[in-house]
Amino acid sequence: MSIERAWSTTGVALLVLAPVTAFAGSAINERSAADPAGQVEISNTAGSVVVTGWNRNEVEVTGELGDGSERLEFGTAGKVTRIKVILPKKSYGVDGSDLIVKVPAGSSLSVNTVSADVRVRGVGGAQRLQSVSADIGTEASTEDVECKTVSGDVTVAGNGTRGLLTITTVSGDANVTDAAGEVNANTVSGNFNLGLRETTRSRLRSTSGDLTLASRPVADSRFDIESISGDVRLDLAGPPDAEFDVSSFNGEIRNCIGPKPVRTSEYAPGRELRFREGQGSARIRIKTLNGDISVCRK
């Protein structure tokens, strides 16, 4: 059942929402029973959000409500628990709130902030983490993880199990370690450094940021990497079994594995590199306008 349907069928009357009036600058201490695989939604404009998964079927919120905040909305309806810092409608200069949230380890998580840093640990469900200018740090496993910022940096630590990881920034950098499965990333000017294990799919795009990908492509995997003026570096672990299609309009191509690149035309600046290693099971495609490309073994 979708979250929206759960809300509509439960109805406003059945909401177990218990708005908690907290005084300015006051400590937060809230707790509620929760579904072990429920959904937790958190919204906090400024300050910080720290979420930890634990082995209890309840959600706990502690921390401090920022000076000038109206209240903390906290409540559970069906499978959904909502935690939201409510700000007064007509005021100026409210302090940020620091939320420390503990959720059942199997929960799905949605966090929205403007400038509140987000840290997530030990949460096994799907995660959708968004911030405008703050940093996001989380762990990835089998469920989908999506991180989105304008200028904040993103850090994701995987454990080698396959899942789906999506990172989008405008100018924020990203650093990923030990993620596996499908990894997609998009940035304008952020520098992305992705250290992956077994990768089935990866689609990376950048306008001017550099993309560094270290990975072990599995059979039938697909890599599609594209940059306008950022450099692309691909380091492959293990013996490559892939077909390569690499080209750049103005950038240099460095290949440590197979043949040297060739010019696409006698009169144009483009270079391309097409070759196969092993059976050519995986497909690796890299395109740039001005960015240099490097393909090597890890």
Binding site: A46, V94, K148, S171, S189, T207, I228, S247, K287, L289
Partner: protein, 196 residues
């Protein structure tokens, strides 16, 4: 070679042999040529100097303008509508000289830009500056690809990069709209306080 051809060749050789080794011009033209060369060189130097001066003026002028705009923006965080207008400025899109963009795409782009104009003031100043710079970066990239396409029309790599660059711009506009729509308030420049 027939006897007739041999005879013709011999006559041609004799005629060539009678020609003088060099011919002096009716008058000495070198002083005139030299004067014109020196004059052209002077004009070329003058043009180079003007171009250099214009470049310096452009760099200094744009730097001063940028610095003054940034200073004004920092001083007037609340008055960010002017910056918003700069952020969402939509430059004409093109796919090289031979193609026109799809009207549906243009409409979507215009709509997203308009939506962003009303929301961009919610961004913290640092994020707003970065957004402005990065949208400009995308537009610079599309202009560069378009220029390359004008030289090499139909290049599949350039066409692919251009289409994707336009998609990236849409994605950034949509993403920022999404992020700013999720929170009605904006954090203060230091990120510790909230402005409503």
């Amino acid at each position: 070679m027939t006897p007739t051809e041999r005879d013709a060749t011999r006559r041609l050789d004799e005629a060539l042999g009678r020609l003088p080794r060099s011919v002096d011009p009716a008058q000495d033209l070198w002083p005139v040529i030299e004067a014109r060369l020196q004059s052209g060189e002077r004009r070329s130097r003058a043009r180079w100097a003007w171009q250099a001066a214009a470049a310096v003026l452009l760099v200094v002028g744009s730097s001063v303008l940028t610095a003054s705009l940034m200073k004004r923006d920092e001083a007037r965080v609340a008055g960010s509508r002017e910056a918003a207008a700069g952020v969402v400025e939509v430059t004409p899109a093109a796919y090289g000289p031979a193609y026109a963009p799809d009207p549906g795409y243009l409409a979507a782009r215009q709509q997203l830009a308009k939506m962003l104009e009303s929301r961009v003031e919610r961004l913290p100043p640092s994020a707003r500056h970065k957004l402005v710079a990065n949208l400009a970066e995308i537009r610079r990239a599309t202009a560069e690809i378009n220029a390359a396409l004008a030289v090499q029309p139909g290049d599949p790599l350039l066409e692919e990069l251009l289409v994707n660059a336009y998609q990236d711009e849409l994605a950034v506009l949509a993403s920022v709209n999404d992020l700013t729509g999720a929170n009605g308030a904006v954090a203060s420049p230091d990120g510790k306080r909230v402005q409503l």
